[in-house]
């Protein structure tokens, strides 16, 4: 009775509107849970099954370790050489299918010159010391593998020139005033540097007097070379703190 009085006391508009509102709210409350996926929100605001679906995706690359199971001889050979950290699948492609059924799915490897140059073509942006060649002049037309075993890629001859690996520096120097100075004038490199470059490093000049051999104003000959007074010219620094020796900017 009281409820009925209460209800009748509300203006007619509000009565009608509140019924509409009630219907909408009830719809929302009851329809919504029907459509939400069951596992939504279990571990966070997402569908938990989605992670399982992602984990179950097919793998294409097998990983170096698996190759060892059958190809241990090659792996041991590779382990000793420069390509120790070059994964088998870089050259041989994704290997999971082959690992699961070796006969069915054979892997091949690139034999032309186009693939090795992806890493070894000379690019000025590559770090100094990384072995690079200019393929146009390095035994053109010969497949790389005819001289270099990809599993143990020792060069058949020890590089004669520094620019075999330090092409960027060599090119820069070739455009500079120092073009006729050989690398070995400033850097003494033991023979072992050519076979074990990262362990055995070439030397570098240590004092201003080294550059002073040509550039000191006390030297009377060697005309045409810019001369400075070793004592008064910026005594605080060594020469190469301002002047890049491979491209000296004297101006």
């Amino acid at each position: 009775m009281r409820i009925q009085n209460f209800w009748n006391g509300i203006p007619e508009q509000i009565r009608r509107l509140s019924i509409v509102l009630l219907i909408i709210v009830l719809l929302f409350i009851f329809i919504r849970p029907l459509f939400i996926p069951d596992d939504f929100g279990k571990y966070g605001h997402f569908r938990a099954t989605a992670v399982d679906e992602i984990v179950a995706l097919e793998k294409k690359y097998a990983g170096q370790e698996i190759c060892f199971d059958c190809h241990d001889d090659i792996m041991e050979l590779k382990y000793e050489g420069y390509h120790k950290n070059v994964a088998c699948e870089i050259c041989h492609g994704p290997g999971t299918a082959h690992a699961e059924d070796p006969e069915e799915d054979q892997l091949d490897a690139p034999t032309g010159r186009g693939y090795c140059t992806l890493c070894h073509e000379y690019l000025p942006s590559r770090p100094t010391g990384f072995p690079q060649i200019v393929s146009a002049s390095h035994n053109p037309m010969e497949p790389c593998i005819s001289c270099h075993d990809p599993h143990d890629p020792d060069p058949p001859e020890i590089p004669r020139e520094c620019n075999a690996c330090h092409a960027q520096i060599a090119r820069t120097k070739a455009l500079s005033h120092h073009l006729n100075i050989s690398c070995t004038f400033c850097h003494q490199a033991p023979e072992e540097h050519k076979t074990n470059p990262r362990e055995v490093l070439p030397s570098k000049p240590k004092s201003r007097e080294f550059c002073g051999q040509c550039h000191s104003s006390t030297i009377s000959d060697k005309k045409g070379i810019p001369k400075i007074d070793l004592i008064t010219h910026e005594p605080r620094y060594v020469c190469w703190q301002c002047h890049y020796p491979h491209l000296p900017e004297a101006r």
């Binding site: 279990k42 966070g44 997402f46 870089i90 690019l123 590559r126 770090p127």
Partner: protein, 271 residues
């Protein structure tokens, strides 16, 4: 008379005390009984969720993944970008990349040229840059930074992209509605709309591999170990050593996305 009045007042005060006591007691009791079930249930839930097992035996709560990239080691061969496309079946066209490599050439006068031909899937070619002098030049691999405070997760309207307990940001491509808000929100350009599923897509750190003791494809094939993958916290992992031995930077630190991809020897020109 006075005694009666005093007695009346005393009685009244006693009654008030009793009713007040009753009230406080009832209130505390109701409060406690209402709070206890949720607290107990919450504890149960936390215990249950920490026991999430994926695949064979992988509990994401026990790991936290990140990546380290050493710019001094990258040779720009592009094997990583190529392997990623193969492993994750990303469309071949030059518009969709989960990871790519950029080349920076900084010339005299601080003029920088950046390029990434087809994301470096086929490596880089040397182009003669007339007579300019190269001051610095290097390669920078780019990838989803798997941010700890991901702006992409923040803006997804439906919960289709999320961060897992092991720190990997994933996309549920069956739930994604393709609104592209996450793609707009990513400061690193790491996301794209997959042309076939019409859902957002991005690098997953090869979640299907790392949850089974393998490395992501890009790390697997990197010939110079420019990419290091491992745990960010506590455990002995290559990444922890990387973070100890190098001065590291992240991309766009001012946006406070807390990336988990750390760059060593990163140059100021890299945005």
């Amino acid at each position: 008379m006075k005694n009666e009045k005093i007695q009346k007042i005393k009685d009244k005060r006693k009654k008030e005390k009793v009713t007040r006591r009753n009230f406080v007691r009832t209130f505390l009791f109701t409060f406690a009984s209402l709070l206890t079930p949720p607290i107990v249930l919450a504890e149960e839930k936390i215990k249950k969720t920490r026991a999430w097992i994926l695949g064979e035996n992988y509990n994401p709560y026990e790991h936290h993944w990140g990546m380290g990239i050493d710019i001094n080691k990258c040779i720009g061969c592009g094997r990583c970008a190529d392997a990623c496309k193969k492993e994750n079946v990303v469309p071949d066209e030059p518009f969709f990349f989960r990871t790519w490599v950029e080349r920076y050439r900084i010339y005299d006068g601080n003029q920088t040229v950046i390029d990434s031909p087809n994301g470096a899937i086929n490596g880089f070619k040397d182009q003669d840059q007339e007579n300019r002098n190269l001051t610095r030049s290097f390669f920078v691999p780019k990838i989803c930074n798997q941010c700890e405070n991901p702006p992409c997760v923040q803006v997804c309207p439906v919960g289709a992209t999320f961060i897992t307990p092991d720190g990997v940001v994933l996309v549920d491509d069956e739930y994604c509605i393709g609104c592209r808000y996450c793609i707009q929100a990513c400061p690193y350009g790491a996301r794209y709309l997959h042309p076939e599923t019409k859902a957002a897509d991005k690098c997953t750190f090869c979640y299907h591999r790392i949850s089974q003791d393998l490395l992501p494809a890009c790390v697997e094939v990197c010939p110079t170990q420019a990419r290091i993958f491992g745990e960010v916290k506590k455990k002995a992992s290559p990444l922890v050593r990387f973070l100890r031995m190098n001065k590291v930077r992240v991309l766009k630190p001012d946006l406070n996305t807390e990336p988990k991809v750390f760059y060593a020897n990163l140059d100021m020109e890299v945005k």
